[in-house]
């Protein structure tokens, strides 16, 4: 078990810089999730920690040891790959015991560790089978078992759930979370799925173009996004963004001039900035009674989800979504008055997208 420290790390492929000057501290026992869109550098960063990619410049520490030049084999890190990467010619037992055998662990101890991991992952009946005789979910468990038996300094997961169907994904997600609480080992998990990030992480690293946009708890990333990118990336459906201005002592939509009812604190920030981008999550709209302050909208599309209903609408040339109570039973063409919930709106600088505080 160990902390991971990344200092001024840069990764280049030829002249192309994938990760420019990145700093990150992952505490011992922490479950950190790297999340970001495709090509943001999250998998590259994970592979650098694993020792599968060399560092162009900067330093990487695992525990107190600088591991820049240390081979993957010597880092004592376990990794679960997106395609599981099981050894096809070995049985499940051999897949799981291979790393221990390489380290010269006594056979009796290997057997006991494999048995314990297999019990934990419910794969005991399959120990004699070859990977090709297993289902996707079972292979996924074997891949995790192979990592667990080693009792490594840290676990790395490279999008391990992306090949599973939706139901199994939810189940394995919960299992990994439970496993992390039981094993109490540093875990780094890469995903492009924000639900995985939100549900599993102690802290989330949101990456874009190789740069950390925000590194914080899931609650903080959701409640207090550092910039418009994070705000738009975390949350489903995504946050709605409307350009707004402060005109005649009122907040108005830049397009059309509709007055936006904002709480005093947010209005104060907008007054200071003059213009900004207003962010409202779909779930942070309230339906206001007719004739009161609000944003009048016409329902364009209705998506009933059972637990709640999504309504699509256009406002100030922006396609937006609001999540409303299903008892409202909105219909296409209905006119509804929406009001941002006080204290749940976000303002971002119109220039660089950074949050306005």
């Amino acid at each position: 078990m160990a902390s991971i420290s990344i200092r001024n790390l840069t990764k280049r492929y030829g002249t192309f810089t994938v990760i420019p000057d990145l700093n990150l501290e992952i505490a011992d026992h922490e479950f950190v999730v790297f999340v970001g869109p495709s090509g943001c550098g999250k998998s590259t960063l994970l592979r650098i920690i694993a020792g599968l990619e060399p560092i162009s410049s900067g330093d990487l520490y695992i525990g107190d040891i600088r591991v820049n030049g240390v081979q993957a084999a010597q880092r004592d890190i376990a990794m679960v790959f997106q395609d599981y990467a099981l050894y096809p010619h070995m049985s499940v037992y051999d897949n799981m015991s291979f790393a221990l055998e390489l380290r010269g662990t006594p056979k009796v101890e290997i057997a006991s560790r494999v048995k314990r991991a297999a019990a934990l992952l419910h794969i005991e009946p399959y120990l004699d089978r070859k990977p090709k005789e297993l289902s996707g979910g079972q292979r996924q468990r074997v891949a995790m078992g192979r990592a667990i038996v080693r009792n490594p300094k840290a676990f790395l997961f490279d999008e391990p759930l992306s090949n599973l169907d939706a139901k199994l994904r939810g189940q394995v997600r919960a299992e990994i979370k439970a496993l992390s609480q039981e094993l109490k080992t540093t875990m780094v998990f890469v995903t492009h799925d924000q639900i995985e990030a939100m549900t599993m992480a102690d802290r989330i690293v949101v990456l874009q173009s190789g740069a950390i946009q925000q590194y914080d708890t899931p609650e903080a990333v959701y409640e207090r996004p550092a910039n418009q990118f994070v705000a738009g990336f975390i949350g489903s459906p995504a946050m709605n963004f409307f350009p707004v201005e402060w005109r005649e002592e009122r907040a108005v939509l830049s397009q059309g001039g509709t007055v936006v009812p904002l709480d005093g604190e947010t209005a104060g920030r907008l007054a200071k900035a003059g213009q900004a981008v207003l962010g409202i999550r779909p779930e942070h709209f309230a339906v206001a009674p007719e004739g009161t302050d609000g944003l009048p909208i016409s329902v364009k599309l209705v998506e009933p989800l059972g637990s709640d209903t999504l309504i699509h609408f256009d406002l100030a040339n922006v396609s937006a979504i609001a999540r409303v109570d299903p008892s409202l039973r909105p219909k296409v063409g209905d006119r509804i008055n929406l009001r941002p919930q006080p204290g749940r709106t976000h303002l971002f600088a119109a220039t660089d997208g950074q949050v306005l505080r």
């Binding site: 694993a50 020792g51 599968l52 081979q71 993957a72 084999a73 010597q74 880092r75 890190i77 376990a78 990794m79 790959f81 997106q82 395609d83 599981y84 990467a85 099981l86 050894y87 096809p88 010619h89 291979f98 790393a99 390489l102 380290r103 070859k130 990977p131 090709k132 005789e133 297993l134 996707g136 292979r139 192979r146 080693r150 090949n163």
Partner: protein
């Protein structure tokens, strides 16, 4: 019968005719060789050729009586097994290294060496081996035949190594394997069928190679294929014995070629990835 079904039948019939003609052209010399080896010696060159004859083993008896056939066969076996082993010893790691590093020029270089005419190597080798007193040695023959076996091993195995998902090697790296151990414990078992195919092909090509053995061997190390050449004399040629020798020489490669077919298809990497 519909037009489509009618056309289909015609196509199938033409395909069969095509196969029979191609088979006849390819197999005719071999059939002629095998049949001639069982003909009395005076009938081998008879014109028109006899189709019905009383089969005899006299050519085979003559072959073993007049020549040290078994010792030539042993020479061939030593040179072929030696050069195949040498090809595998260097070819397996070379193919793995090319696949691992994606640096392909060494593989292309070996292929170029294979495609170049043998005479290109023959003279320098003859001079070099003579200088170190190795003409007529098994070592000289094995080393020269490695030019045949090495590219075969490399080029048969390269796609097999390339087909293994990279993540399997990376998983082994993370598990604590050195590159050498990855080759030995992970890559080689996964390309076992490829190794078998490359070994058999290398064996066949080396067994059949004539030129190097003709020049670099001596009376003690002459291989079968070079020895068979001696039956073609300036004054007279022992066609019957030559046919018997050719039949026996062709037997191991034919048997091995039949074996290769069974090894060609492999599902070993199935299940390595998501599937």
């Amino acid at each position: 019968m519909t037009d489509a079904a009618h056309n289909e039948r015609w196509i199938r019939w033409l395909n069969t005719v095509q196969l029979v003609i191609a088979g006849a052209v390819i197999m005719a010399p071999t059939v002629w060789m095998v049949l001639s080896s069982f003909k009395p010696s005076f009938e081998v060159t008879a014109y028109p050729p006899t189709v019905i004859f009383a089969p005899t083993l006299e050519n085979y008896v003559e072959l073993t009586r007049t020549t040290p056939f078994l010792s030539y066969a042993l020479n061939s076996l030593i040179v072929t097994v030696g050069s195949t082993a040498l090809g595998l010893l260097f070819g397996i790691p070379a193919a793995f290294a090319v696949s691992w590093t994606r640096i392909t020029w060494p593989a292309i270089l070996t292929l170029a060496a294979r495609m170049a005419p043998g005479t290109l190597f023959l003279l320098p080798w003859y001079v070099m081996f003579r200088q170190v007193g190795m003409i007529g040695s098994y070592t000289a023959l094995i080393l020269s035949h490695a030019v045949i076996t090495l590219p075969i091993v490399i080029w048969v195995l390269l796609p097999s190594f390339d087909a293994i998902p990279r993540s399997v090697f990376e998983a082994a790296q993370v598990d604590g394997c050195s590159v050498t151990r990855i080759l030995w414990r992970i890559a080689m078992p996964l390309v076992a069928s490829g190794i078998a195919v490359s070994a058999i092909l290398a064996f066949v090509f080396s067994w059949n190679y004539f030129l190097f053995a003709l020049v670099l061997s001596n009376g003690d190390t002459k291989t079968l294929i070079a020895a068979a050449f001696n039956f073609i004399g300036e004054g007279s040629t022992q066609w019957g014995a030559l046919m018997a020798a050719a039949t026996l020489i062709a037997l191991p490669p034919l048997l091995l070629a039949a074996l290769v077919q069974r090894w060609l298809v492999s599902g070993l990497t199935l299940g390595a990835v998501k599937g």
